[in-house]
Amino acid sequence: MRSFAPVLTVVGAIFVIWYGAAVALNSAWAYDKAKRADVSLSFTEMVADTMVQKKPLLPAPHQVAVEIYKTTVQKKITSKRSLIWHGWITLSATLLGFAMGTGLGILLAVGIVYSRAMDMSVMPWVITSQTIPILAVAPMIIVVLNAVGVSGLLPKAIISMYLSFFPVVVGMVKGLRAPDAMQMDQMRTWNTSKAETFWKLRLPSSMPYLFPSLKIAMAASLVGAIVGELPTGAVAGLGARLLAGSYYGQTIQIWSALISAAILAAILVALIGVLQNITLRRMGMLR
């Protein structure tokens, strides 16, 4: 396990910086409290205080860890205070949005590759769509869909789809165009139909391009789901935990939701990585 040492070094460095920043940022409040209580703080007392504040500016890593432990292991998953419950709400929207985005992305890519008209007309709009800030679009999608009676999972999934189809389109267009002129000529010499050229040449050629796109799409999808939870009034989901935390200044809650979202994203992207390895290995493309 050669790769362990560098990974641990980086993680260690992050913790050192995190703890240092926590002391630096929370010390003002510690001194402030001490001043009002008319006691003077030694350095060690100050440092001790910065580690245990209820609403610290920056919670220390162990405070976040304890909060995550309390809200996952020690809570029933049906409880509204369970991070697992909130996480599942976000995850379901993420996965649905990811599936929709991947489907849409692949369909658009096929259209763009096979139709010159679509290549000219659709691609600029695909790019334009990503220049619009999602924070501006998300509330409109939620409100408009709510007005026609659609609420809950689907509006969030649509926001996820909006963010995740883009990398899939770009990757798949590149991938489906990966076969070179010789490979296309080869297909011509066998008098191969367009459909068979797609299934036997273009689609397999695109696989090494698809998976990196899927990883980006999955991460984008999670961001989309969280953004989609913000305008709903913080009912449920990791986004709701973030928003509720910031309403009440519960920094530990914000950070635990944040770290949970990051862990969730890491797991999802890693799963696609596993899928990528299995697929490419079975296709003989990994040595």
Binding site: M182, W190, T192, G284
Partner: protein, 260 residues
């Protein structure tokens, strides 16, 4: 020779329209290839030898004259899958095994599963790759990959084999070996072969007919009917007869160059 004509071109012309103006790739090509012949096209780059082969394969459209393959147009011949085409690069799909690659045209042409299996093992044996069916292309050397690509072109029932510098990227030792094998294969299968090369010894060693071409515009400088016997060990390259033919090819190439 009174053989059945397989490929015939009359006054064939091809001009490419490019941004730098028209390029006259082929000019007035008149050629007949009989059944079972092994015809080499040789010439410097830009002489149109590959373009000519591609016209026969319906991969390029001539701008003048006629070309007939099996007494029909190249397009109809391609629709009827009348020829196998071997490109300069083996072009095997990395996600398919050697067997899977050879099956590819058979799948596309709708051969039955049993027939596919039977044909794959037959052609693998023909190119001496038996036992490599389950290997992936990257597990094979360049020469073996090119043999697999020849096997792929042989797998379906096409009487014509068109080869575009198939051994161009291989070293000389491998090349000699493959040339020997190709002759043996031609002997066994009785295919009509069109073979593009820029190697004089290769052209002389393999061919029953050598078409010497010259560039700007691409045209035929000389057509040489080989007098070498059908049985050709590699040592034949040291015989006076072989050297005489090679000399004539070289003359043709030089002449074409000074005229151009």
């Amino acid at each position: 020779m009174n053989k059945e004509v397989i490929i015939e071109t009359k006054g064939l012309d091809l001009t490419f329209e490019t941004n730098d103006g028209p390029v006259h790739a082929l000019k007035d090509i008149n050629l007949t290839i009989g059944k079972g012949e092994f015809v080499s096209f040789i010439g410097p780059s830009g002489c149109g030898k590959t373009t000519l082969l591609r016209v026969m394969a319906d991969l390029e459209q001539p701008t003048g004259g006629t070309c007939m393959v099996n007494s029909v147009s190249p397009h109809e011949a391609r629709m009827a899958r009348a020829y196998g085409y071997v490109f300069q690069a083996a072009g095997l799909y990395p996600w398919r095994t050697i067997g899977g690659n050879i099956k590819l045209p058979l799948e596309i042409m709708g051969y039955s599963k049993a027939e596919q299996i039977e044909r794959v093992s037959k052609v693998l044996e023909l190119v001496e790759l038996d036992g490599f069916e389950k290997k992936f292309p990257w597990q094979l050397s360049g020469g073996m990959q090119q043999r697999a690509s020849i096997a792929r072109a042989l797998a379906f029932d096409a009487d014509i084999l068109l080869m575009d510098e198939p051994f161009g990227a291989l070293d000389e030792i491998v090349r000699d070996h493959l040339n020997e094998q190709l002759l043996a294969l031609w002997e066994r299968t009785h295919k009509t072969i069109g073979f593009v090369t820029h190697s004089i010894p290769e052209a002389v060693y393999l061919s029953t007919k050598i078409v010497v071409m010259s560039p700007r515009p691409g045209r035929i400088a000389d057509i040489i009917e080989s007098t070498l016997p059908k049985e050709r060990p590699l040592e034949i390259r040291d015989t006076p007869e072989f050297i005489a033919i090679a000399h004539r090819v070289r003359e043709g190439l030089l002449e074409g160059h000074s005229n151009g």
